[in-house]
Subunit: 410 residues, 2 copies
């Protein structure tokens, strides 16, 4: 047997031993496609397909306006929030689904800035760009100074003027992960609040927000939660802070009595005050089905399989495609659930893989990312991806690196 | 023949002569239900039912991440915005779909406040409550003073300190309508910009935003546009103002080059800068289908039928239920597309009507509203509603007025 047959047999053995393998059937995956892009857009859960028909045809179509009460639309932000809370180690009433990550970040930065007279909003120079953009707008409005420093300097940059620390828990590019408990504690000791962006963490790595003393967070519905394109986002606010924070977006859904039409805005008690306008129910319903798809799944088991997928990917790639250099941390506690490689021709390799039905994604200038999503990926898929990669690398003489950035929603 | 047989025959004749009657088939309406609540949540367009299946199963399910480009998700905010523009007398690039009405109002108030050194945001005391709540939050952030005056005093209250005038074009309760061109002009002459909330206007009354000199507006997708529960909202910014306004919500989708991951926020040219985060595609797709349902329909013809529905409703109600007092303006140019009645037992009457399959809605303390939606309502429906109302009024001896407000999304 060739080496590659050996490793295929090994991958099959891992799949046979995988306790999560039956979960793959909970998703609709196109035949012949190997999907490593779940860190950008999760695939369609079967439950979402079934329920979306019901939401559209039976609820909207037949219950019409009555759907707000009878189909439970009105409580969906809280209900789905509570389901997410279970996945991230929070109390049910500490999470609510609303708006987009960008809008939710804005709410939290502006609201939290008012708790302190300090003047600086600290973030990472290489934080995800929408976080930095939103932070710049929120800083301008609140009078905060936006200070951006490299990752390695974050903790040393906490000073007596730091009001807020805004960080993305898992880096969208490299998959580097902060030590959430340690960083939150360091910020607390420096007198600052931390806002965590959990877009690349939720549904991917085990999270214990309460245990780790997390105060504020936002997260994404459409990546590892598989909530569908542009699924609504969520906000987490630790119980003890909820009534001290006031969202700048005082929409009626965040009012203490939205249906009383009172003259003045009275913020709802608790997490509800972080709602603004009427939520997009069709998208929210798909997110709910997607989260129900995690039913009975332990995030610890998901994470253990993610580690095993990473290890296989890393090892096979090192053997078969040594020119693709892994830039994700090898120590599991220091990374999220994707693996990223650097290669001067990353763009061409990524395109050639896509042409062969292996969907990863490219990040300029020279990175390929593969999302490791244990609910539906097999070890065999990792083997196939590496084999195809090797064939591509072997068969081509590369021109100068070139890429034309395609519009791509991460 | 009884009087009521005469009027039924008359209603049938009006239906036979109605050039819009074939449009009813474009909607899925439950058997036996007469739906006068399209001003709260429009019914399900058949096209939305068909397309939602395609968006979920074929686009999300099969195209996965490729859907952003291949299924045109990425351009949906602009594409659907341009379709709305056609219904409201705006240029295609002056309208974009994003977020909720509440969030969009916030963007416009904060952005527009920066164009002037004046200090007052003027609105109507009885403006829709989320508008007032959002205005209060935006005023606090911008340092504007929020001044609320009764409807009749709006124009006289424009003064040299008025920076912005925020008004809802059609009143959610009474259906009173402002003269958009005249009010906008008066504000302009006073040196103020006007932001129009078109929630109860879009898809209901003829709008000519460009002709009427409108500078800024927001509107709702789920009422007369029939876009589904919580459908995304839209923003209109007149061409000449677009590059002078900067949204406080600087999400990546409003960036000049969202996929270049540049360090600094550079607002997109034109209307695109009013996008924030990733849009909820399933809800946005339903809205697009709903707007496509207006294909070939002239808003003038819609409005003419609305007038005829109103006149019949008003006349029959005056004959059969004189105790229900019409509080909507009888002059068509002064109202929107619903009819509202006052009665001390409005709550009980509304509930009894709903029990009999006639869906209107109640507004505390004593108002019933009936949405007049020419795309799918028949003159016969008006006749039936009034007949049932008369039966209810005849058969009951009312207790003291009482109602228990139900949670209800307008």
């Amino acid at each position: 047997m060739s080496n590659s047959s050996n490793t295929l047999a090994e991958a099959h053995a891992l799949d046979r031993a995988d306790p999560l393998s039956p979960l793959r059937d909970r998703f609709l995956l196109p035949d012949g496609l190997i999907y490593f892009d779940g860190h950008s857009l999760g695939p369609l859960p079967r439950l979402a397909l079934i329920n979306q028909r019901e939401v559209v045809e039976d609820q909207w179509g037949r219950q019409l306006i009555g759907g707000w009460n009878d189909a439970g639309w009105i409580d969906a932000p809280q209900r789905v929030g509570a389901k997410i809370a279970e996945l991230i180690g929070a109390k049910p009433h500490e999470v609510i689904v609303a708006d987009s990550t960008s809008v939710n970040l804005f709410k939290l930065i502006v609201a939290a800035s008012r708790l302190s007279s300090r003047g600086t909003l600290l973030t990472e120079t290489d934080n995800f760009h929408t976080d930095r953009y939103i932070a710049s707008g929120a800083a301008e409005i609140t009078g905060l100074k936006l200070r951006m420093v490299p990752r390695a300097e974050i903790q040393d940059s906490l000073d007596p003027d730091t009001s807020l620390l805004l960080l993305t828990h898992v880096h969208y590019g490299t998959a580097e992960r902060y030590d959430m408990a340690a960083v939150t504690k360091a910020a607390q000791e420096a007198g600052a609040l931390t806002i965590w962006d959990l877009c690349h963490s939720t549904g991917a790595v085990p999270l214990q927000l309460n245990r780790d003393g997390v105060e504020l967070a936002v997260g994404c519905g459409y990546k590892y939660l598989n909530g569908g394109p542009g699924a609504p986002s969520f906000v987490y606010v630790a119980e003890h802070l909820q009534d001290r924070l006031l969202s700048p977006l005082r929409g009626w859904m965040g009012h203490a009595a939205p249906f009383d039409f009172t003259t003045d805005y009275v913020p709802a008690p608790g997490i509800d005050r972080f709602l603004a306008g009427t939520p997009p129910i069709l998208s929210l319903a798909a997110l709910e089905s997607a989260i129900d798809t995690f039913d009975g799944v332990s995030m610890q088991a998901v994470w253990e399989k993610s580690i095993a997928l990473f290890d296989l990917f890393d090892r096979l790639m090192a053997e078969r495609c040594p020119d693709l250099v892994c830039i994700s941390p090898r120590e599991p506690s220091q990374r999220g659930s994707h693996i990223a490689f650097r290669h001067p021709n990353a763009f061409e390799i990524c395109q050639a893989l896509i042409d062969q039905g292996v969907i990863g994604d490219f990040r300029a200038p020279d990175v390929i990312r593969f999302g490791l999503t244990p609910l539906y990926l097999r070890f065999e898929d990792v083997w196939t991806a590496v084999e195809r990669c090797a064939e591509i690398a072997d068969s081509r003489s590369w021109d100068q690196p070139r890429f034309s950035a395609r519009r791509k929603v991460t």
